[in-house]
Symmetry: C2
Subunit: 462 residues, 2 copies
């Protein structure tokens, strides 16, 4: 659970550090008070390139743009690092109620899904709301299309937690339904609000049979659920989706070199790719803007830290975080010198604080340092999953930190056609930049570094 | 402006009436406290028939169902009255940005629009936010596609007023753009919230050239507006839409005959047709449920009023209120005996009161009677447009009353794929039934009737 407010159990050292960095924090916040600089970056991503799905020319153009933007900002170590990414393509998709009466449904295939057989699949639907109900239905599911109509858990501590409680239906639903002989799996969109649009997202197959899988809009999942309560419902599902080999894409790097220990690194990352619906404004264009503007702010203000801050804009997060995995592999020799890795991938809501996945020293220090962000209202510290792209650094014991933006409306738009620029407030985005830039600067600049320590057991995304 | 609260300037007579009808009002409210009976009616419309556009088999099936439901409820005078309705058909529709970079837009043709020429139309877009800006652009609009990107006026007193301030862009935009030589007109969807879905609605041509016209989602109207601020934007628009003759549909009538003056009538109406997106749950399935359950409640409770209450479920409201017009024509001889006409066509929000369009006697009496609805919180009285279907009764001087449900979220879903059943709260719908049934009963039962008087000058919908 996300704990608001500040938990201070600070050693005297950190109190001194808060005092030491207060002026820098204020300058960073002031420089981002309008948020316009960051906003222009996410606007460019949304407007010049639009949706940036792995494999799309738009993503590769956005990667070039980000590379050139780092160079124009005067960053050091600007580089494109190749990443072989899996391609998955969406083709023609449709879902129609056949009986009791024809009706067109709003459907969106899940990333990674195989396609339906030629001509699609027509079968009776079995509606379940939990995996327990699935197991109870058991053998009766053979030959059917399973619909997981799991309501959004609005009682969860926050929307990110609600998403975490729901995501297995999307990622594992097909595999678990296939185990009972289902021919396809549909999932109610994971959405905190809905006005008719389905939400896509990645899924994963297990060892068993692979069946096609897609999301229905909340409205249409409810409709099918109601109809099935009245009598048998038959659906016709067409998903001309599927894997299509691989290609080489790129992570984009830019650095603010450290003034004393440039070989020690603090990573600040986000992902440039998005889904193919909407324009990836909040997922994760906003994150890219926060990362780019954090580095640019520190450089403009002459805040060169003791260690190097390396911005990494990852490719192909949505299709399995391939960019993050390849970064960890190709920088394996450097990982012991990775002091910390930050990620921002939860939209453009107001900053609430950080989520940290690290050993107790780092957690304690973060709690001691977080009052620096009090002027931004971002003094929350929580432990748990910090980000998909930096997760690959976890086995090396790198302390991981995720900027926690208010997720209250993020899952209204996440992975859907509604993830668009006009929902981002520039001044709020500026506060996100200030929170990220300040904390990255302090961690990169402070005298002591956190020990690489075996982190606590993994927590589920997010 | 909608005035909340009760404006009592009651003659003593009406105070007595409030006391007289308080028990009936309480019984009606109690009978609808769960709202389940009304909810099952709108659920049937949404689930058994789905969208019910004029000309669709689904609408004609819903008409038969409503006829049979009135009969099953034991209503008198159950009848189908023929209405020749105009047919308009939606064909293939698409809108794509061609330059600066390809992008698919969310588009929905407006009812009544002509189609584009074969192959569609490709032209530069000119973005305006008001008719003033249109006039200023003047001759520069020749050969262009005009986009009316008029923001939702969130500062309006309520969402219905905001809709009223915006509707001319949808209804008249094409005609006004055509006057400057535009080849097509697009309008930002009239929506109080948006998650990617466009909102359709009726448009009207004037005397000049007829150009095709459609709505873009709020997101895509904003996108085109931003891109046009960066440089020229070319769109390719295909609308295989257009008029397709006429057919005979039906209004559905059912009555609770008056015990003393059965030839004097109080009409209570809503419309059975909807647009072809969503399932017409709030527009106006909810209204139909309110009307049907109002009559059923009064009959079940043995509350037979002095005069006849006639429920009318109109056809083809969305395509020009043809059902309402034909009702006025075919019942012309009866109109002097129409004591009042109620309509409910603003969704399933909590009842706030009534909007009345009538002479001062009726307005004053309504204000005196409205405290009857205090237990429902529905004591607001406003003057103004009372409803599209009953508007045709206005020239005959029939006092018109519209149930005013809270419109705060109605225009989030109105005329879009998001107008679906799961957004309706049964208990709230039950309060709408209670408000409507109580006021219709009192107006039909009270000793004196309102004079047919020339009403004040017309106000714009809604």
């Amino acid at each position: 659970m996300w704990a608001l407010g500040c938990h201070r159990q600070a050693p005297a050292k950190s109190d001194t550090e808060v005092a030491k960095y207060q002026q820098a924090a204020a300058r960073i916040a002031e420089a981002n008070s309008s948020g316009q600089a960051a906003y222009q970056r996410v606007a460019a991503l949304a407007d010049l390139f639009g949706p940036r799905m792995t494999g799309s020319p738009a993503l590769e153009r956005a990667i070039s743009w980000a590379h050139d933007a780092f160079a124009a900002d005067g960053q050091e170590g600007v580089a494109l690092e190749p990443v072989v990414v899996p391609l998955w393509q969406r083709g023609k998709e449709s879902a129609d109620i056949v009986t009791p009466a024809p009706r067109k449904l709003a459907v969106l295939g899940l990333g990674g899904s195989v396609g339906t057989p030629p001509g699609g699949v027509t079968a009776e639907v079995a509606v379940v709301s939990t995996f327990d109900e699935l197991a109870k239905a058991g053998a009766s599911l053979r030959g059917k299309i399973v619909l997981f109509n799991h309501p959004w858990p609005a009682a969860a501590p926050n929307a990110a937690a609600a998403y975490g409680q729901s995501i297995d239906y999307r990622t594992d639903g097909a595999t678990r339904a296939a185990a009972y002989g289902a021919v396809a799996a549909l999932v109610r969109s994971l959405a905190s609000a809905s006005l008719g649009a389905p939400h896509t997202g990645q899924m994963h197959y297990g060892a068993g049979p692979q069946i096609p899988t897609a999301a229905l809009s909340v409205e249409d999942a409810e409709l099918v659920g109601r109809l099935a309560a009245r009598g048998p419902v038959t659906l016709h599902l067409v998903l001309e989706d599927g894997p299509h080999g691989t290609m080489t894409s790129f992570n984009v790097l830019g650095e603010l070199r450290g003034r004393e220990r440039p070989d020690e690194l603090v990573v600040v990352g986000a992902h440039l790719d998005s889904w193919d619906v909407g324009e990836g404004a909040q997922d994760d264009g906003a994150g890219c803007a926060i990362v780019m503007e954090s580095l640019a702010t520190l450089r403009r203000l002459g805040l060169r830290p003791r260690r190097t801050i390396r911005a990494v804009l990852y490719t192909s997060e949505e299709e399995g975080a391939q960019g993050g995995k390849v970064y960890a592999q190709s920088h394996a020799a450097e990982l012991p010198r990775h002091v910390a890795a930050f990620e921002t991938d939860i939209g453009a809501g107001r900053p609430l604080g950080f989520r940290i996945d690290a050993g107790p020293d780092a957690v304690g220090d973060l709690r001691a340092l977080i009052p620096l962000l009090a002027p931004l209202g971002a003094t929350g510290v929580d432990t748990g999953f910090a980000g998909s792209d930096i997760a690959a650094l976890r086995p090396a014991g790198v302390p991981l930190l995720g900027l926690f933006a208010d997720p209250a409306h993020y899952f209204d738009v996440h992975h859907s056609v509604a993830d668009t620029l006009e929902k981002i407030d520039p001044a709020t985005l500026g506060r996100d930049v200030a929170a990220m830039a300040t904390m990255a600067y302090v961690v990169a600049d402070r005298e002591t570094r956190w020990p690489a320590s075996p982190p606590p057991p993994p927590e589920k995304k997010p």
